[in-house]
């Protein structure tokens, strides 16, 4: 792969990671957070492929992405069962009601 092509590919991969990171921290929906994490990890996978990392690295990252997706979806299901919603702003509000913040020391 030529150097400009590699650079362009890496820029795309970093853009994917950055957009995934921004999405994960800004969206309120738990499932969208899981999707955004998958986008970020997909960007990392693209970067590893462009950098011609060994197959072992690619397989490891796929396994990690799958594990994050499984745990994320399981958490979203449990949140839906416990709160009736998967929007984190509503969940935070419910937590505040459960345990109102006490006076500071």
């Amino acid at each position: 792969m030529t150097a400009p092509a590699l650079l362009a590919g890496l820029v795309l991969a970093i853009a994917l990671i950055a957009s995934g990171a921004v999405g994960a921290f800004t969206t309120a929906n738990a499932l969208k957070k899981v999707g955004a994490i998958a986008v970020a990890l997909g960007g990392a996978l693209l970067a590893l492929a462009l950098l011609q990392a060994p197959n072992l690295a690619l397989i490891a990252l796929v396994a990690v992405s799958f594990a994050y997706a499984v745990v994320g979806v399981a958490l979203a299901v449990r949140l839906q069962e416990a709160y009736g919603v998967i929007e984190t702003d509503e969940i935070d509000a419910a937590d505040e009601q459960d345990e109102p913040r006490g006076p500071r020391p």
Binding site: A13, I14, I17, G20, A21, A24, F25, A30, K33, V34, I37, A40, L41, G43, A44, L45, A47, L48, L51, Q52, A53, P54, L56, A57, A60, L61, A63, V64, A67, Y68, V71, G72, L75, A76, R78, L79, A82, Y83, T88, I91, D92, A94, D95, D98, E99, R101, G102, R104, P105
Partner: protein
């Protein structure tokens, strides 16, 4: 695997918890599964301590072996304490929590002992996901799930940066071996990769400003998960950062830039988290912010890039772990984390009060505590290297710790409880041993530090290939 164990017996320390996790799932009784997990972790800790004491062949280096022994020992104490806290879990979930706790500890130990970047990154992510699982399972209240989601979000994003960093390092060095960093190829890409890996670990160590998950998780998690996440999880991540610092220090063409990055991370964390610890709204949040502040001092020690600096970092990591176990164990004994629960604790519960006091004094760096020893070694190393500003930051960190640690002691001994909670003798029976062990270590090793100093000096010297 048998061949790997024969070549490097210390690998057993990382393998045993993972195998033990599978067996813990087969034990249906909640407390029995946690006690089994404790037994497995204690065996792994003994192997790690033995390997560290003998200076056995460890590919990752003496500093990593020192940290592995520390993580193993602290995880064993947490699991023993956790056996008394199983009521926090739904009964069917308790064996899963014990298995995940073992995976968390085993993951961090494997990361510290790993020879290659893929093993390192995989082990870190296994440990983090297992910690997320413990946080989610660990409290009958639903808030724990919200905290676990925060951990998952931060961990997932940081994993992307970790693997990007690993890819850059592998591209620069042409191999996945961590030791290949010293060979001098592809300096710029290696530095970029190492900084990305360090940033990813900063998230998992709860270093400011990348610790958005920490307050939410600690405020909502139960006592056992909070103890495990701080004493094992963040300590393991901090030790992994020290290990990366050691790998960079052995590569002269990388050392300067990586040490500058570590110093920046450390100083930022000291500044932000000291303020947050002073304004924390409960004991668990105070503990995580105090941890992050003091972890900043550990990183400043690493940034000195000298054997004295690494020895100081190892002593401080030990001191920090003991202080956190004493503080969070005592908080678990009170069954709530609010500051009000500390009022009059010295009269109601003298041993728990003494543990909180020992932990707080060690965090402050008061003389005759292990925290003082760590802080003294840091200042000595910083002045020796001519880095006066590092000595100044360490003093500022201690002054902040006097403020938040002093508040804890004031509540324990100089206030009366508004509501006297009923003492849970059954719970305290299992918490006594680990909490007092941590408190005695915080004071005892400050009074007679020769063993710890010898071990840390030897471990730090092995990074640079010099005799202690």
């Amino acid at each position: 695997m048998t061949g790997a164990l024969a070549a490097d017996p210390s690998a057993l320390a990382a393998a045993a918890p993972v195998v033990g996790a599978a067996l813990a799932l087969l034990i249906p009784h909640a407390r029995a599964s946690w006690l089994f997990a404790f037994a497995v972790m204690a065996a792994a800790a003994v192997v790690a301590i033995d390997a560290a004491a003998r200076g056995a062949l460890v590919s990752a280096g003496g500093a990593a072996m020192f940290s592995t022994a520390l993580v193993g020992l602290s995880a064993a104490l947490c699991l023993f304490a956790g056996a008394g806290l199983v009521r926090e879990f739904h009964a069917p979930a308790a064996p899963y929590a014990a298995a995940l706790a073992l995976c968390c500890a085993g993951g961090w130990m494997a990361a510290l002992l790993s020879r290659d970047w893929i093993g390192f990154a995989l082990a870190v992510e296994v440990a983090w996901l297992a910690g997320t699982g413990v946080a989610a399972l660990g409290d009958a209240r639903r808030g724990a799930l919200n905290g676990a989601l925060r951990m998952l979000t931060s961990g997932g994003v940081s994993a992307a940066f970790m693997f990007l960093g690993v890819g850059l390092i592998a591209h620069a060095t042409g191999t996945l071996e961590i030791a290949a960093l010293a060979h001098g190829a592809g300096a710029d890409a290696s530095i970029a990769g190492l900084v990305l890996v360090l940033l990813s670990l900063s998230v998992k160590t709860a270093l400011a400003p990348l610790h958005s998950w920490a307050g939410g998780v600690m405020g909502r998690a139960g006592a056992a998960p909070a103890m495990l996440l701080v004493v094992v999880g963040t300590t393991g991540a901090l030790a992994a950062m020290v290990r990366i610092g050691a790998a960079a220090a052995s590569a002269p063409h990388l050392a300067g830039a990586v040490e500058a990055a570590i110093a920046a991370l450390g100083a930022t964390s000291v500044a932000i988290c000291s303020v947050q610890a002073m304004g924390a709204s409960d004991l668990r949040r105070l503990a995580i912010y105090a941890f992050a502040s003091q972890a900043g001092c550990v990183l400043l020690s690493v940034s000195l890039g000298s054997p004295a600096g690494f020895a100081a970092a190892l002593v401080q990591t030990f001191a920090l772990t003991a202080a956190m176990l004493a503080l969070l164990g005592a908080a678990a004994a009170m069954r709530e984390a609010s500051f009000d629960a500390l009022d009059g604790l010295g009269r109601r519960h003298p041993l728990a009060g003494a543990a909180v006091t020992a932990g707080a004094l060690s965090l402050m760096g008061a003389p005759l505590t292990i925290g003082f020893l760590g802080r003294w070694r840091l200042i000595e190393a910083a002045v020796g290297a001519g880095w006066w500003w590092v000595a100044g930051v360490a003093l500022v960190s201690s002054l902040a710790a006097v403020f938040y640690g002093g508040r804890l002691i004031e509540r324990v001994y100089f206030r009366r409880a508004a509501v006297v909670a009923e003492r849970d003798r059954d719970l305290w029976r299992t918490l006594t041993a680990p909490v007092l062990a941590a408190a005695i270590a915080a004071i005892g090793l400050g009074v007679e530090p020769s063993i710890l100093l010898h071990a840390s000096t030897q471990a730090a010297a092995s990074i640079f290939g010099t005799a202690p």
